[in-house]
C-alpha cells in the first residue's frame, strides 16, 4: 500500500502551496520593501527547487550528475551576473 501512495508528490504539493501562501503574505501584511523582496526571492528559489526535485525528477535519472552540474553552472553564472550588475550599476556608481 505504501508504495502506491505518492507520498513524495503529495508532500511536494503541500509544500509548494505553503510556499505560495508565504509569498502571498507579502501583499497582505504591511512589511517594508526590503523584507518583502527578501521573502519573495527566498520563496521563489525554494519553490523552483521543489518543482525540480519533486515533479521534474531531476535526481531520478542516469544523467543525474550532469543535470545537477548544469544547474549549478547556470546558478553560478546567474548569480555572478546579477550581483555583478548590481555592483556596477548601483553599489559602485
Amino acid at each position: 500500500m505504501s508504495e502506491l501512495f505518492p507520498r513524495k508528490q503529495v508532500m511536494g504539493f503541500v509544500f509548494s502551496l505553503v510556499l505560495t501562501a508565504a509569498a502571498l503574505t507579502v501583499y497582505f501584511l504591511d512589511v517594508s520593501f526590503t523584507v518583502g523582496i527578501t521573502i519573495l526571492l527566498a520563496t521563489a528559489f525554494v519553490q523552483a527547487a521543489v518543482q525540480l526535485v519533486g515533479f521534474m525528477h531531476v535526481g531520478e535519472n542516469e544523467d543525474k550528475t550532469m543535470i545537477y552540474m548544469n544547474i549549478y553552472y547556470g546558478l553560478a553564472i546567474a548569480l555572478f551576473t546579477i550581483f555583478g550588475t548590481l555592483l556596477i550599476m548601483v553599489w559602485d556608481m
Binding site: F80, T81, G84, I88
Partner: protein, 652 residues
C-alpha cells in the same frame, strides 16, 4: 499616400537608389531563372523543406558567404571614405549606417551562420550520428536566422538602416536620438535570428549528449565536437540575455516605456551592461569553434595526435565559464568606481591564461610532426601569431586605467579584428577548404588557395596593423573623417591598400570555387586528406543517412585506428534505417516571422497581430501533426553501399 511615406528612406543617395534597382533586378532574374529552368519544384522539395543536416549546413554556408560579401562591401566603403583626410565620399549619416550594418552583418549574419554551417555539416558525422537530435527544429533555426538576416538587409532600401553602432547603445538608439525605423530593424531582425540560434544551441547540446556512437565517451569526442558542445552551452546561457535586452529595447522604442531612458526613472547605462553580458560570451561563441577546427586541421596535417587533449578540454570549459565574468571591460570608462574596474580587470587578464594553454598545445602538436602545408594548415599556422597579437593587445585593453587611453580608438578596432579575423574568418576558410571535399565531392585548387591565403593574410595585416598606431595617436573609432593636420592620412591610406588586398584574396577564393567546380577531379575517394576522425569514414558525397551501420568507437581517433591497425569500425548486419520526413512548416513559419518582424518595425499593428496569431497556429499545428518519418530499406542501402571501399574492405 501618407501611409507609404514611412517606407521612404530618410537619407537617400544615388548609391542607395542604384542598389534598389539592383536588388529588384536580381529578384526578377531569380524568379525568371527558376521558372525558365523549371526548378521551383526542385528548390522546394530538395532545399526549402529539407531537414537533412548536411543540406541545412550548405544553406547556412551560402548565406554566410553572401553576408560576408555584403559586410565586405561595407568595409571597403568605410576604408575608402577614411583613406584620405576630409573625404566626401560618404557623409556622416551614411558612414554611421555603414559601420553599424557592417558590424551587425559580420557578427550576427556572417560569423554565426558560418559557425553553424560547419557544426551542422560536421558534428553529426564526427559523432557517428544520422542527423541532429531534432531535425525539424534545425530547419526552423536556419530559416529563422535567414529571415532575420533578410529583414535586416532590406533596411537600407525600405525605411533606412540602423545607425547607432552594432552595440546600439541606448539612449542614443532610443526614439529621441534615432528617429528613423533603423533601430527597430536592428532590434527585431536580431531577435528573430537570435531565437533561431538559441534553438540550435539546445539542439546541438542534445545531439552531442544523446546521439554519440556506441563507445564514444565524452572524453573520446573529437576536439571540434567538444568545442561545438561548449559553444552551444554558452549560446544557451548567453542568448536569453540578448533576447530580453532586445525586448526591453523594443518596449522603449515601440511602446514608450522608459527602461533605458535618461528621464522618468530609466537607467541609461543598463543597455550597455546587458548588451555586454551577452556580448562578451558571444565573442567566445565565435572563437571556440575556430579552436576546434584548428585542432583538427593541425593534428591532421602534422600527422600526430593532438597534444594535451585533456588540457584542451579543460581550458575550453574554463574559458566558457570565465567568458561570463568579464563583460564590464567593455565599459571601464562608463563612470563606475575603481572597485568594479579592478575586479573586472583581473578577471579579464585571467581569461588569457586558458587561451595561452591552447596556443602551446597547438605548437607542441606540430613539434616533431611531419607538417604538410596545405591551405587549411596555412590558415591554422597563420592564425597562431596573429591571434597572439590580438590576445596581447586584449590584455593591454583589460587594464582599466590604461583603457582610458585606448577605449573607443582605432587601437580597440585593431584589437578585435586581430582576434576575430584569425579567430573566425581564417578558421572558417580553413574549415571550408578542409571539409569541402566531404560536402561537394571534389577538392578546392591548392595553388589558387595558397595565393588567396597570402592575399588575405598580408592584406589583413596591412589593413589593421596601422590602426594600432593611429589609435595610440588618438584617432577615434566611428569618425567619418579627420583633418589633414592630424597626420592620420598616410596610415589610413595604407589601411585602404590592405583592404584592397583582402578583397582580392576573397575574390580569389570565389574564383577558386568556380575553377575547381569546373576542373577538379571527382575521383578523390572518401578520405583525401588522410584524416583521423569519423566524418571521413563516410562516402563522398555523404549518403542521406550518413552511416549504413553505426560505427563502434573505442578511442579518440577511431577512424585512424581503423586505417592503421585495422580495428573494425562497422560491425553487424545492415538494418533498415529510420529517417525524418521533410517538412515545409519551418520555412512557412519563418516567412510569417518575417512579415511579423516587418510589421513591428513599422508599427503596423493589424498585420502584427494577425501574424502573431498565425505563428501560434503553426505551433499548434505541429503539436497535433502526426509524422513518424520513414524507413530506408535494406536493399536500397545495400545497393548504394556496394561499391564503397570501407564496407568492401571489411567484407574481404
Amino acid at each position: 499616400m501618407d501611409y507609404f511615406d514611412r517606407f521612404a528612406i530618410p537619407h537617400p543617395s544615388p548609391a542607395i537608389y542604384a542598389s534598389m534597382v539592383a536588388i529588384g533586378l536580381t529578384m526578377i532574374a531569380i524568379v525568371i531563372g527558376l521558372t525558365y529552368f523549371k526548378k521551383w519544384g526542385y528548390l522546394w522539395s530538395e532545399w526549402l523543406t529539407t531537414v537533412d543536416h548536411k543540406r541545412i549546413g550548405i544553406m547556412y554556408l551560402i548565406s554566410a558567404l553572401l553576408m560576408l560579401f555584403r559586410g565586405g562591401v561595407d568595409a571597403l566603403m568605410m576604408r575608402a571614405q577614411t583613406a584620405v583626410p576630409d573625404n566626401k565620399l560618404l557623409d556622416a549619416q551614411h558612414y554611421n549606417e555603414v559601420f553599424t550594418t557592417h558590424g551587425v552583418v559580420m557578427i550576427i549574419f556572417m560569423a554565426m551562420p558560418f559557425i553553424y554551417a560547419l557544426m551542422n555539416l560536421v558534428v553529426p558525422l564526427q559523432i557517428g550520428a544520422r542527423d541532429v537530435a531534432f531535425p525539424r527544429l534545425n530547419a526552423l533555426s536556419f530559416w529563422l536566422f535567414f529571415m532575420g538576416a533578410m529583414l535586416f538587409n532590406i533596411s537600407f532600401v525600405i525605411g533606412g538602416s540602423p545607425d547607432a553602432g552594432w552595440t546600439s547603445y541606448f539612449p542614443l538608439a532610443g526614439n529621441d536620438f534615432s528617429q528613423s525605423v533603423g533601430t527597430n530593424y536592428y532590434l527585431i531582425a536580431i531577435q528573430i535570428a537570435g531565437i533561431g540560434t538559441l534553438i540550435s544551441g539546445i539542439n546541438f547540446i542534445a545531439t552531442i549528449f544523446k546521439m554519440r556512437a556506441p563507445g564514444m565517451k565524452l572524453m573520446k569526442m573529437p576536439m571540434f565536437t567538444w568545442t561545438a558542445l561548449i559553444t552551444n552551452a554558452i549560446v544557451v546561457f548567453a542568448f536569453p540575455v540578448l533576447t530580453i535586452t532586445l525586448l526591453l529595447g523594443t518596449m522603449d522604442r515601440l511602446f514608450g516605456t522608459h527602461i533605458f531612458s535618461m528621464t522618468n526613472g530609466g537607467m541609461d547605462m543598463l543597455w550597455a551592461n546587458l548588451f555586454w553580458v551577452w556580448g562578451h560570451p558571444e565573442v567566445y561563441i565565435l572563437v571556440l569553434p575556430a579552436f576546434g577546427i584548428y585542432s583538427e586541421v593541425i593534428s591532421t596535417f602534422s600527422r600526430r595526435n593532438l597534444y594535451g587533449y585533456k588540457s584542451m578540454v579543460a581550458s575550453i570549459v574554463i574559458i566558457s565559464f570565465m567568458s561570463f565574468l568579464v563583460w564590464m571591460h567593455h565599459f571601464f570608462t562608463m563612470g563606475q568606481g575603481p572597485l568594479s574596474n579592478s575586479i573586472f580587470s583581473i578577471t579579464t587578464m585571467a581569461i588569457a591564461i586558458p587561451t595561452g594553454i591552447k596556443i602551446f598545445n597547438w605548437l607542441l602538436t606540430m613539434r616533431k610532426g611531419k607538417i604538410e602545408f596545405t591551405v587549411p594548415m596555412l590558415y591554422s599556422v597563420g592564425f597562431i601569431p596573429i591571434f597572439t597579437i590580438g590576445g596581447v593587445t586584449g590584455v593591454m585593453l583589460g587594464m582599466a586605467s590604461a583603457d582610458y587611453q585606448y577605449h573607443n580608438t582605432m587601437f580597440l578596432v585593431a584589437h578585435f579584428h586581430y582576434t576575430i579575423i584569425p579567430g573566425v574568418v581564417f578558421a572558417m576558410l580553413a574549415g571550408l577548404t578542409y571539409w569541402w571535399p566531404k560536402m561537394f565531392g571534389f577538392m578546392l585548387n591548392e595553388r589558387i588557395g595558397k595565393w588567396a591565403f597570402w592575399f588575405v593574410a598580408i592584406g589583413f595585416n596591412v589593413t589593421f596593423f596601422p590602426m594600432f598606431f593611429t589609435g595610440l595617436d588618438g584617432q577615434a573609432r566611428r569618425m567619418y573623417t579627420y583633418s589633414e593636420a592630424t597626420g592620420f592620412g598616410p596610415l589610413n591610406m595604407l589601411s585602404f591598400a590592405g583592404a584592397i588586398g583582402l578583397a582580392i584574396g576573397f575574390a580569389l577564393i570565389v574564383y577558386n570555387v568556380y575553377y575547381s567546380t569546373r576542373h577538379a577531379s571527382r575521383d578523390i575517394g572518401s578520405d583525401p586528406w588522410n584524416a583521423r576522425t569519423l566524418e571521413w569514414a563516410t562516402q563522398t558525397p555523404v549518403q542521406s543517412y550518413n552511416f549504413a551501420r553505426t560505427p563502434q568507437v573505442d578511442s579518440i581517433e577511431a577512424f585512424w585506428d581503423y586505417k592503421k591497425n585495422g580495428k573494425p569500425l562497422f560491425k553487424g548486419e545492415i538494418e533498415k534505417i529510420h529517417m525524418p520526413n521533410n517538412s515545409g512548416m519551418p520555412f512557412i513559419m519563418s516567412c510569417i516571422f518575417f512579415v511579423w518582424g516587418f510589421s513591428l518595425v513599422f508599427s503596423m499593428w493589424i498585420p502584427a497581430i494577425i501574424t502573431t496569431i498565425a505563428i501560434f497556429a503553426c505551433l499548434a499545428h505541429r503539436s497535433f501533426e502526426k509524422d513518424d518519418g520513414h524507413y530506408v530499406s535494406v536493399e536500397e542501402i545495400e545497393a548504394t553501399e556496394k561499391d564503397w571501399e570501407v564496407l568492401a574492405d571489411e567484407n574481404r
